[in-house]
Amino acid sequence: MQFKEFDAFPKVESGFVKRTGSGGILTLIISAVLCILVFGEIADYMKLRNEYNFIVDPLINHELQINVDITVAMPCDALTVDLRDIANVQLSLSDKLHKIPTHFTLSSGVSRTDKMRDQPLNVKQLVRAASRNAALAQASKQKGNEDFKACRIFGSFESNKLSSNLHIMAAGHGYFGTPHTDHNVMNMTHKIDEFSFGELYPTIVNPLDDSFEISETAFEAFQYFIVVVPTIYVDRYKNRLMTNQYSVSEYRRAYDEHQGFPGLFFKYDFEPLTVMITEESSMSFGHLLVRLAGLVGGYYVTAGMAHKVLSAIYYWFRPEQAPLRKHNV
């Protein structure tokens, strides 16, 4: 018994094989269609889809970074920034955040063209954008005109990962012990350039980024109710981006003088579920190979059988063209 006895693929010397014109045409058509199908399959393999998973955070959380960049149309020394959470911890942030006197303009000088907004989610772009290192733009003091009417409050701070209320208020309105601010100065018109949770990725746009509200009276309160959803993005190269998305609803209310506390109130709470968005192809490479083999093999065999059936039908109607059968096997 020779090694070649194991050959499972019978080959017939060309002298014993009949080649027909219709078979030749069929082979060409099969090859063309097969090419299209194979390319379709490969394209399917290359296409990425986003897989959404929800996990309950398995780690013990402690603190979380919050990044803000807000310009309020009031002088800096008339503004206080405080944070209070449900553990009754009160944090005075007036010194922890940078306050820079500036002019209130709605046309932002910082170009935001590289920010992505209202685009279908592309995890790869997002992860890549996050790796681009950009610090909060340092505002340079405008020289010449010293009559600054607005204050830019920006920076990052750590707070407990608990539902909290971050508020920017006029000094003397709401907290005792600060000098009273004159009502003529009070104006809660503000512009938010950055409001995000977790590590700062300036190129990722959050719902509050680049928004502004104009206050009509001195005693007006703007409340933002924010629900934060921790999110992990994983692109197809397994690069991870851990950040936080949030949804926001807002409410504004004007008070009569001395009836309430004007200010900006950011009330935020955290969802216990973490969203994990994974970018992945619909199948593995091995799976692709199996599918391709199945496709090529199946198509080849099916087309061959179809050819047989069709020619059988053809010869049924035109028996005179049928090849001579000398003997039945």
């Binding site: 020779q2 090694f3 070649k4 006895e5 194991f6 050959d7 499972a8 693929f9 019978p10 080959k11 017939v12 010397e13 014993f16 998973n53 929800f54 309950v56 955070d57 398995p58 780690l59 013990i60 959380n61 402690h62 449900i86 553990a87 009754n88 911890v89 407990n160 990962k161 608990l162 955290f270 969802e271 216990p272 579920l273 973490t274 091995g286 199996v290 599918r291 391709l292 083999a293 199945g294 496709l295 090529v296 093999g297 199946g298 080849y300 065999v301 059988m305 047989k308 039945n328 096997v329």
Partner: protein, 387 residues
């Protein structure tokens, strides 16, 4: 007979076989055969493993359950605090305030080296009356001037203590009280002073926002306020180091981790308030061959606060909080549904057919191509020789 009836189907044979005489067998063909057989085997094993493996498919729905109860299973060790100091309270926002809960909770006294000394089911400590032989039949103890209970007598040291609590006094000097001296209260305290305590057990609470806490001193309700009598511990402070061996909100199911399991917090001398803010997410796990299980998983944020607050002049202020370990739980509106799944048998069969048929056919095409190429080459070489 059989043969002749079979031969009638001959014309339907889709697997026309080449007569053996016309078949050409080559060693490259055999090599391709083995190679393809190997690939098929590997892929089949992969397909089979994929078919046998159980995947957990999870989805998210809004929790529609009503009137649900939630069981809290916990096991917490306090290596530095004796059992008699600790009290467990369960409170919920719905107004159901269960003070001094005794619902299958056990306190285990621990020696300083961690060995168990005495295990008791936590009931109202010291509820047993004094031995009637020692005191007369008609004994009615004095309450030391504090408000008397309904029976009018303070027969045990514990009764006196509760009377003090009712009057809003602090129970600082048990050595002056007759009942306590008789019961050896001070000896008991001294004996337990270096002990630790392990509190474990199960609580069943309404599935609403609430908290349970383990804190020093007996708790009582005073004008709608939840108060702990901690006066006697304030001076020396308490070391609330703790080791959470287990904290679960329901049965264990696969794919669910409890972040607080086996959590150590050490070096908490002084007056520390440990807060755990827990968000409970309902979870239903559908097993493949068992009835589904409803349970809960949670995420947690920890926050510690030292209550011994010194201002810039070095003065120690009154603590503005209760030392102890607090678990505040909040219920999420979402619910995770986990379903165990396996590929269906038919899809496994389809996969097998695709692998065997596909690889085999492709291999035969490749083999045919090689053979033809080989032959053409040979013929050309022969032609070249002839020239």
């Amino acid at each position: 007979m059989v043969k002749s009836s079979l031969s009638r189907f001959k014309s339907f044979d889709a697997y026309a076989k080449t007569l053996d005489d016309f078949r050409v067998k080559t060693s490259t063909g055999a090599a391709v055969t083995f190679l393809s057989a190997f690939i098929i085997l590997v892929l089949l094993i992969g397909e089979f493993l994929d078919y046998r493996s159980v995947r957990i498919e999870s989805s998210l729905i809004v929790d529609g359950g009503r009137k649900e109860k939630m069981s809290i299973d916990f096991d917490i060790t306090f290596p530095k605090i004796p059992c008699y100091i600790l009290t467990l309270d369960v409170m919920d926002v719905a107004g159901e305030h269960q003070s001094d809960i005794t619902h299958s909770v056990y306190k285990v006294q621990l020696a300083p080296d961690g060995t168990e000394i005495k295990r008791e089911r936590s009931q109202n400590l010291g509820n047993t009356g004094p031995d009637p032989k020692e005191v007369g039949e008609n004994y009615c103890g004095d309450c030391g001037g504090a408000a008397r209970p309904e029976s009018g007598c303070c027969n045990t040291c514990e009764d006196v203590r509760q009377a003090y609590v009712r009057s809003g006094w602090s129970f600082n000097h048990p050595e002056g009280i007759e009942q306590c001296v008789r019961e050896g209260y001070m000896e008991k305290m001294k004996e337990q002073a270096n002990q630790g305590c392990r509190v474990h057990g199960m609580l069943t609470v309404n599935k609403v926002t609430g908290n349970f806490h383990i804190a020093p001193g007996r708790s009582f309700q005073n004008a709608n306020m939840h108060v702990h009598d901690i006066q006697q511990y304030l001076e020396h402070g308490l070391d609330f180091s703790h080791h959470i061996r287990r904290l679960t909100f329901g049965q264990h199911v696969p794919n669910v981790q409890n972040p607080l399991d086996d959590q150590h917090v050490d070096g908490a001398e002084g007056l520390y308030m440990f807060q755990y803010y827990i968000k409970v997410v309902g979870t239903t796990h559908h097993y493949m061959n068992k009835p589904p299980v409803r349970t809960n998983q949670y995420s947690v944020t920890q926050f510690n606060r030292n209550l011994h607050y010194k201002d810039e002049h070095g003065r120690v202020h009154q603590p503005n909080g209760l030392p102890g370990v607090f678990f505040n739980f909040d219920i999420s509106p979402m619910m995770v549904v986990q379903v165990e799944e396996r590929k269906s048998f038919t899809s496994f069969l389809t996969g097998v057919c695709a692998i065997v048929g596909g690889i085999f056919t492709v291999a035969s095409i490749i083999d045919g191509a090689i053979w033809r190429a080989e032959r053409t080459l040979k013929r050309k070489m022969e032609l070249g020789k002839a020239l």
